[in-house]
Symmetry: C2
Subunit: 274 residues, 2 copies
């Protein structure tokens, strides 16, 4: 791991690292916030997965997570949203290819050689972070939009690896949305049975979640028809799944929305991780 930048923040340190990823077959960049408490001993980790078009940087600079992480004593990891580089396949559309990894392991050309964000987050980066930073092997996960989809699907498929789960405006039912069908088809092929393993609503139906789930969704989000929060809310209700889907009046899909509720989400994870 090489350090790209280090900035003091709320008594802790916001660092950006690059490293060679075997999983993705390219160099990858991620942000890691270590709170002041980490100087005195390892702290639990909150993973924040970002949305379409984002890099590791967006939430790191606009999300406002550091102050809450510093108050509670959590590390926050900000992975990138896809492999990157001139040798990595891409698409002209903003919602496919670089910046749009969808947290799956692609099985189709031209994507399968690099687009393995599922394994990257679940295994490679987790191991790297746990080994090299002052953190405990105790993890919560959250994310926004495509990253909310990533957080829920990764947690539900790996219940033993995460203690806490939340999401901001997740793509809640990608198998039924233009934010999902296009990408799952490209990355995984046209057999929709393979898609079910990457759909929060379907996974919740199958597995449920061992704990409770916090989902915040802006009621004035411009992408509601693509996100389909009602599908997830309905499934949570039908399963009597502990948790809450909060439709936040007035809020849209932007980082102003994320920033507003970052405090609640970090506190949610802290209560379950500490």
């Amino acid at each position: 791991m090489e350090i790209v930048s280090e900035n003091y923040s709320f008594g802790g340190c916001q660092t950006v690292y690059t490293h060679r990823s075997e999983t993705c077959g390219c160099d990858m960049t991620f942000g890691a916030y270590l709170p002041p408490q980490a100087r005195h001993g390892p702290v639990p980790v909150l993973w924040y997965l970002s949305g379409l078009t984002c890099t590791h940087e967006n939430a790191m600079t606009k999300g406002g997570f550091q102050q809450h992480a510093a108050r509670h004593g959590l590390a926050v990891i900000f992975p990138d949203t896809s492999p990157r580089g001139t040798t990595v396949s891409d698409d002209e559309a903003y919602d496919l290819g670089q910046g749009a990894g969808f947290y799956v392991n692609a099985t189709r050309d031209p994507w399968k050689s690099h687009f393995r964000m599922y394994d990257y987050v679940v295994t490679e980066l987790r191991n790297l972070v746990t080994e090299h930073l002052s953190v405990q092997d105790k993890h919560g996960i959250t994310g926004h939009s495509m990253g909310g989809h990533g957080a829920i699907t990764i947690a539900l498929r790996n219940e033993a690896l995460f203690e806490s789960l939340s999401a901001f405006a997740p793509i809640a039912q990608p198998t039924q949305s233009d934010w999902g069908r296009k990408q799952l088809s490209a990355y995984l092929g046209d057999d929709e049975t393979a898609w079910a393993g990457h759909d929060s609503t379907l996974l919740l139906e199958e597995y449920g979640w061992k704990g409770d789930i916090l989902v915040d969704q802006g009621a004035s989000d411009q992408f509601l028809d693509l996100l389909k929060p009602e599908a997830l809310a309905d499934m949570m209700a039908r399963r009597r799944q502990p948790g809450q889907v909060r439709m936040q009046r007035g809020y849209d899909h932007s980082y102003f929305f994320v920033n507003t509720f970052a405090s609640d989400h970090v506190a949610w994870h802290a209560e379950r991780l500490l």
Copy 2:
């Protein structure tokens, strides 16, 4: 004023406006955060002036001011840092021309026709904001770097117009710095007596400030030699000026620094404005 964007934020609204500026002779853009309290009646205004290369947007998305403004009930105005547009003079350097107005009224060609950020902030935008938004005619002012210079110089020259004053890493003595001499020479000409009216340290020596002043400065700021906080601190000490210059161990010049101390600054202004 035309609305460019509106985003709910911490129960209030972060709006971006454009308007035709008579002072600058071009269209100007600014951000205005109105806290939830503004729905029930006018609230005081905190002005945040940004630094070199910034637009209205940087502090609005990275500064983290909205949550504190919402807690205390202050509006926050984020002006741009210069006139803009293809008809507006510019320079290849990042620190002259567009993005580098230095909060002066230029008197020299080619700058004098548009670069009038002093009058724009002190008079035109203030009148526009006070007339059109749900705010009281009660103002505090702060800013970062070039904007910290702007905040201190504008407040000291217009003591009746501002109730409270603070700054983040201000360019504290531009008449003695490469962040200052170049720009004051270009905008105001080579007669240095004209520069003294735009130097925080010299203005403080001449006028003092009616209240107390809060200055935060990162002790690991990469631009310390250009900012010269020691000049301002020394002048405050010599005048026994109420206030404090806090050298914050470990912090640099970035928005991570601003974000960390935004809470203290908004509280500082709230205590003096409410």
